[in-house]
Amino acid sequence: MTGVAETLRARREAGEGALIGYLPIGFPTFDESIDAAVGIAQSGVDIIELGVPYSDPVMDGLVIQAATQRALAEGFRLSHAFEAVRRITAECDADVLLMTYWNPVVQYGVERFADDLIDAGGAGLITPDLVPDEGAEWIAASARTGLDRVFLAAPSSSDDRLAQAVETSRGFVYAVSTMGITGARTDIDTAARSLVSRLRDAGAENACVGLGISTPEQVREVLEYADGAIVGSALVKALADGGVPAVGELAAQLATGTTRTRHDLKGSR
C-alpha cells in the first residue's frame, strides 16, 4: 500500500477520517506558503494538497484563482514546487500531493517531473484536467516511481468511467461533491454521498470528497461515508485574510470534524 492509502487506512483504523487541506504554492509569498502548509499539518491536516499555480485554472473558483494568479505574478516557477515539497515534508509528517493542471507537467517532461517529485519526498499528483483516457504517460511514470495518482470522479460519470477511475487511481479517488468548480458552499450536495456509494460499488477502497467543504460540520458529514474530506477555498481565504496563524486555526477547527464514533463507522461501511 502506498503513502496516502496508508495514511487513510491508519485514520480509518483509528475510527476516524482524514482531513485533506489544499493550499497553493507561492501564496501569499513562497515562504509563507511553506509555513502555512506546515501549520495546517501541525493543526490536524493529514494530507496536504499543494496547488501548482497555472495560468488557465478552469476547475478553480475565484478565491483560488486570485491566490494562484498572485503567486504567478510574484514569480512562481515550476522548480519552486519541488522545493516546496522538500521543505514541507522535512518539517512535518503529512503526505504531500501536488495538484497540478497537466500542461506544466508535460512541458517539464512527465518522467522528469515524476523523478523530481519523488526525490523531493512528494507522494503523487492530483490531476484535475487529465482523465485516465489521456493519461497513459503519467500512469506509466507513476507505476515506475511508485507515486500516487489521483483521478477525479464526478456525479455525472458513468458506471464504466467510475470503474476506470477506481482502477487507474492509486492512493484515493477524488470524488467531486457537486457539479462545479472550487469554492465554499453552504450545502454539500447529496450527490457526493451517492457518488461515493457508487465508487464503493465499483471497488474503491479510498474515496475522498472535495469541492465546497468549509466547516467542521461539513467535514463530519462527509466523513460519515467517505475516507477523507478535502478543504481548499476556505483555507485559502483564511490565509488571505488572516495569514499563517488564521489558516492554522481554521485547520484545527476543521480537524474536530474528523473524529467518528464507532456507531457512525459501522453504519457507513
Binding site: 478552469v58 494568479q69 500542461n103 512541458q107 484536467d129 482523465v131 455525472s156 457539479m179
Partner: protein, 403 residues
C-alpha cells in the same frame, strides 16, 4: 490518402479531451447527438433552410482585379462571408449548434467571444430560438469592441466582462468552461472555433465546411479550374478550416493560414501560435500554443481581437505538422494596410481579422505570379472595427462627438 474524413478526437498527435471529469459525460452526449444529427435528413433540411433563408447562403464570390494589381497580378477571388447575416462566418457554426441545443433539450446557451462576432452570432441564434444566452468576453475586448457588446445586449444576451488573467479571449473561454462545469444540466456551450475538446474541433469544422464546398464549385465555374492557393486568417482557425476542408484532398491546391504577428514575431507582442509556439494542452486539446518554459500560457497580442488567442485548433496543428497547410505571420501594420487597400480599390471594408488573410495574399500573389488563382476567405466585414481603424488611420475629426 484522404485528409477530409478525419473526425477526431485525434488529428495526428493533436486533439483529445484534456478537461475535468465533470465535463466528460456531456462531451460524450454531445458527440453522440452530433453524430445522430449529422445522419438525420430532417436536421440537415432545417439547417440548410436557415442557411439559405436567414444567413443568405450561398454567399457570393467576388473577383477583385484592382486589389490584385497590388498582389503580383494574380487572379484574386474573395469568398464573401462578410455578406452573411451578422457579418461573419461565425453564424454558420452557431445555427448548427443552436439546433443541436434544441435537440438535446437544453434551454440556456453560453459562449465565449473575442472580437464579438461569435458572441453576436450566438446572441442572434438565441433570440431566434428563444434560448437564454450568456456571453463571456474579456474586459479588454469589451472595450475595443464596444459596438458588438451593444449588439449582443440589444439581442437580449447577458454579456459578462471577464476580469481574470489577460482579460481577453483565452480567459473568456476559461470562464465559459467554469460556467459549463457548474450548469451543465441546463446549459449547452456553443463553442466558436475549431479548438477545445472533442467533439468541438470536428463539429465546428463540419458546420463551417460549407464555406469551402460552395467556394470550390464557384471558383471552378468562374475560372474553369481549381485555385492554386486558398488562404485564410487563423486565430482559433474556424474560417480557415471551413474554407480549407473542401480542398484538403486536392493535392495541387496550396493552403495558407495567416496568423497574427502583432508587432512582429521577434517581439513578445504577437499571436503567431504555429509559427512561434510549441505543442501543449490548452482549453481541452493538445495543439500548438504560446507558452513559457514552465507551460504557463503566455499572453498574445494582435490589433485584431478575433485573432488575439495563444492557441489554435488541433486540426491546423496537424495540417502544419504534415505540411499540408502552411502558416505564415502577418503583422498588425501589414493587415491594416491591406484593410485600407481593399477598401479603396474595391469598396469592400473587411474585418481586421480577414485583413490578415488579404495581407498574406498580397505577398503570396507576388510569389505565385500573374497566372495564379488565389481564393481568399473574407471571413467578416469591418463595421465593428471602425473605431480601431478610425484611430489607426487618424480618420476621425478632432472634436467630433464619438459614441
Amino acid at each position: 490518402m484522404t485528409l477530409k474524413n478525419s473526425t477526431g478526437p485525434y488529428f495526428g498527435d493533436f486533439g483529445g479531451r484534456y478537461v475535468p471529469e465533470s465535463l466528460i459525460a456531456t462531451l460524450d452526449d454531445l458527440t453522440r447527438e452530433w453524430e445522430d444529427a449529422k445522419a438525420d435528413p430532417a436536421f440537415h433540411r432545417e439547417l440548410d433552410a436557415l442557411l439559405r433563408d436567414y444567413v443568405g447562403r450561398p454567399t457570393a464570390i467576388t473577383e477583385v482585379p484592382r486589389f490584385a494589381e497590388h498582389a503580383g497580378g494574380a487572379r484574386i477571388i474573395l469568398k464573401r462571408e462578410d455578406l452573411t447575416h451578422t457579418g461573419s462566418h461565425k453564424i454558420n457554426n452557431v445555427l448548427g449548434q443552436a439546433l443541436l441545443t434544441k435537440r438535446v433539450g437544453k434551454t440556456r446557451v453560453i459562449a465565449e467571444t473575442g472580437a464579438g462576432q461569435h458572441g453576436v452570432a450566438t446572441a442572434t441564434a438565441a433570440a431566434l430560438f428563444g434560448l437564454d444566452c450568456v456571453i463571456y468576453m474579456g474586459e479588454v475586448d469589451t472595450e475595443r469592441q464596444a459596438l458588438n457588446v451593444a449588439r449582443m445586449r440589444l439581442l437580449g444576451a447577458e454579456v459578462i466582462p471577464v476580469t481574470t488573467g489577460s482579460r481577453t479571449l483565452k480567459d473568456a473561454i476559461n470562464e465559459a468552461m467554469r460556467d459549463w462545469v457548474t450548469n451543465v444540466g441546463t446549459t449547452n456551450y456553443i463553442f466558436g472555433t475549431v479548438a477545445g475538446p472533442h467533439p468541438f474541433p470536428s463539429m465546428v469544422r463540419d458546420l463551417q465546411k460549407v464555406i469551402g464546398e460552395e467556394a470550390r464549385d464557384q471558383v471552378i465555374s468562374l475560372t474553369g479550374r481549381l485555385p492554386d492557393a486558398v488562404t485564410a486568417c487563423v486565430g482559433g482557425g474556424s474560417n480557415a478550416m471551413g474554407i480549407f476542408h473542401a480542398f484538403l484532398d486536392d493535392a495541387d491546391v496550396a493552403l495558407y493560414g495567416f496568423e497574427a504577428a502583432g508587432e512582429g514575431v521577434d517581439t513578445p507582442r504577437h499571436a503567431a501560435t504555429i509559427t512561434k509556439g510549441r505543442p501543449g494542452m490548452l482549453h481541452g486539446a493538445r495543439s500548438f500554443l504560446l507558452q513559457d518554459d514552465d507551460g504557463q500560457t503566455t499572453e498574445s497580442h494582435s490589433i485584431s481581437a478575433g485573432l488575439d488567442y495563444p492557441g489554435v485548433g488541433p486540426e491546423h496543428a496537424w495540417l502544419a505538422s504534415i505540411e499540408r497547410a502552411r502558416y505564415r505571420p502577418v503583422t498588425d501594420a501589414a493587415a491594416m494596410e491591406a484593410l485600407r487597400l481593399l477598401s479603396r480599390t474595391e469598396g469592400i471594408i473587411p474585418a481586421i481579422e480577414s485583413a490578415h488573410a488579404l495581407a498574406g495574399t498580397i505577398e503570396l500573389g507576388r510569389e505565385l505570379g500573374p497566372d495564379a488563382v488565389v481564393l481568399v476567405s473574407l471571413s467578416g466585414r469591418g463595421d465593428k472595427d471602425m473605431e480601431t481603424a478610425g484611430t489607426y488611420f487618424n480618420l476621425i475629426d478632432e472634436g467630433a462627438e464619438q459614441s
